[in-house]
């Protein structure tokens, strides 16, 4: 339900991974995802999983958070698994009604599900170890070359940051509105589709007005603090590569090399 959405889930800790430059981490996640597509044998995923667990451990993020990240896409995982298992042709193992489960199907299902799960866990680790501001700064710096082509990279980074800050507030506001209208007899939980739609209509206008008011207040507050939307800006913590990052890039390089070498040396894998 709408009420359960959480966003911006930074996990505060003083680990090596937290200290790394967000650009290093972005690169790491990118490489990790590529590696997941390089391999086909399910056994390799166990290796990827171990790497992931080591990274979570190094970041000091409890493993519970890994599972929490997956809970949001549980439905997608189940669906992927079932779909792959039932619709992959091959040697039949069991036949139930019109469905045939094949050996290849099971393998494919495990592979696809594991791939998605690992991808999401990797991306979650990035958001657990970098604040939205760091991510925005990292992206801004990584893409700063595009500024010359007229793409407003800096403005986009500010927008991303504000979105991270305000989405939880807006959700909270929506919750209050839902409670208030429910107290006046609106039916969001029970009631038929028509009644639910009518209920939603009563949320839209107030939510719109609140958002407009909030944005104009925020714009005024930003202006009062000297935000001009143009000109040179600086950073409290400018992004500079440190020795953790050199180590990080080295680790990323070794990691991906293993996959590439394995891929080249044995085509059967």
């Amino acid at each position: 339900m709408i009420r359960d959405i959480t966003i911006g889930r930074y996990y505060d800790s003083e680990s090596v991974i937290h200290r790394m430059d967000p650009r290093t981490k972005l690169m790491g996640v990118l490489v990790y995802i590529i590696s997941l597509f390089l391999v086909k044998n399910v056994c390799w995923y166990i290796g990827c999983l171990i790497v992931m667990l080591v990274l979570y451990k190094a970041a000091g993020v409890p493993f519970g958070y890994l599972l929490k990240g997956l809970r949001g896409i549980l439905l997608l995982l189940c669906f992927t698994f079932l779909f792959r298992m039932l619709y992959t042709p091959g040697d039949p193992l069991i036949q139930v009604w019109i469905f045939t489960i094949t050996k290849q199907g099971i393998l494919k299902a495990v592979q696809m599900t594991a791939r998605i799960a690992l991808m999401i866990s990797g991306a979650s680790l990035l958001s657990y170890t970098s604040t939205p501001k760091e991510l925005a700064d990292g992206l801004e710096k990584a893409f700063s070359g595009l500024e010359k082509t007229g793409i407003p990279v800096h403005e986009m980074a500010v927008i991303v940051m504000i979105a991270f800050r305000f989405i939880p507030i807006m959700l909270e506001e929506l919750n209050v509105l839902m409670d208030a209208q429910a107290a006046r007899g609106a039916k969001f939980e029970d009631g038929n589709i028509l009644e639910k739609c009518k209920g939603v209509m009563t949320l839209l206008l107030p939510l719109f007005l609140l958002t407009v008011r909030r944005s104009s207040d925020l714009a005024m507050a930003m202006e009062a603090r000297g935000y001009t939307g143009s000109g040179k800006t600086s950073r409290m913590y400018p992004l500079v590569y440190k020795k953790e990052d050199r180590a990080g890039y080295l680790a990323i390089l070794i990691y991906i090399s293993v996959f590439i070498i394995a891929r080249i040396s044995s085509l059967s894998f």
Partner: protein, 292 residues
């Protein structure tokens, strides 16, 4: 610090696309606020207080009259940012002025946009966060702060622009009593320790008994401008501005009516306690009280 002469501000109200009407929100305001003064502005909703505040930060420009900040006319467009940086603003709803996803990031937002060097930003951030007593919370996301802490953060944001004057537009309207006290104490400290000029807009008369000066507004005009003792003694004036008398002052006035010897208006709780205790002791004799 701030000088205003005959300031007029009109809002345009569009009935539909073609018909519009004008509403005068500020109707000939003249004011002179010297550096280091603690000024409180009181008045009912819609009396023009917030509009006035916005002129001080050059978020609005006069329709008539002139506003000078530090001797500079706010109409001078080319110096807008220079003038604006002299005056920091704190607004009513803390959630609508906090941009960052952590306390220190949020404070750094202003200086970062003015391209201040990183090292100096860090110095400013530490300095202002210590002033509002949030340094220990610098890594905390704003959503985890209490209302009073959020408003203190908003104050730190304003201070990070290194202003000489702080304008606070009903900073306590959405807070609970203990948060209100936190915020007001910080504001008083800034005035006393740093010599910051303070302009505090509020509905709560008990917050401003320590102000150097109280300005009462109604319908876009100033209807009273004096020291708290004089303002709070004038019941009919306060009534016109739709303000309450602070409870301590009210009690003093009622007792005076009953001919119980409180000749001067008493503003502070401590003072009132002392006076009543003295009165009581003189009434029944000091020795009796000592024997108790």
């Amino acid at each position: 610090m701030i000088k205003i002469e005959n300031l007029v501000h009109n809002y345009t109200i569009w009935k539909d696309e073609n018909t519009k009407s004008e509403k005068t929100v500020l109707d000939g305001i003249s004011l002179d606020i010297p550096s280091g003064q603690f000024v409180a502005i009181l008045g009912p909703n819609g009396s023009g207080k917030s509009t006035l505040a916005r002129h001080l930060n050059v978020l609005l420009l006069p329709d008539e009259g002139t506003v000078w900040i530090d001797g500079k006319n706010t109409q001078a467009k080319e110096r807008l940012y220079e003038i604006r940086s002299r005056v920091g603003m704190v607004f009513q709803n803390p959630d609508n002025q906090i941009v960052g996803t952590s306390v220190e990031e949020d404070v750094a937002f202003g200086p970062e946009n003015k391209n201040v060097e990183p090292e100096k930003i860090r110095r400013i951030v530490e300095d202002v966060l210590r002033k509002v007593r949030l340094w220990e919370k610098r890594k905390t996301p704003p959503s985890k702060l209490s209302g009073g802490q959020k408003q203190r953060l908003a104050t730190a944001d304003a201070l990070a622009g290194l202003p000489e004057c702080l304008v606070l537009d009903e900073p306590t309207a959405m807070l609970d009593p203990s948060s209100r006290k936190e915020v007001i104490n910080i504001v008083k400290e800034l005035n006393q320790k740093e010599g910051m000029t303070i302009i505090l807009i509020t509905h709560h008369t008990d917050e401003v008994v320590d102000a150097d000066r109280i300005i009462l507004m109604k319908d876009g005009k100033i209807i009273g401008d004096d020291i708290p003792k004089k303002i709070f003694a004038d019941r009919s004036l306060l009534k016109r501005a739709k303000m309450d008398i602070p409870p301590v002052v009210e009690l003093g006035m009622r007792l005076k009516k009953q001919k119980i010897g409180l000749d001067e208006p008493v503003l502070h709780e401590q003072e009132m306690i002392r006076k009543i205790t003295e009165l009581y002791r003189s009434k029944c004799g000091g020795w009796k009280d000592a024997a108790r």
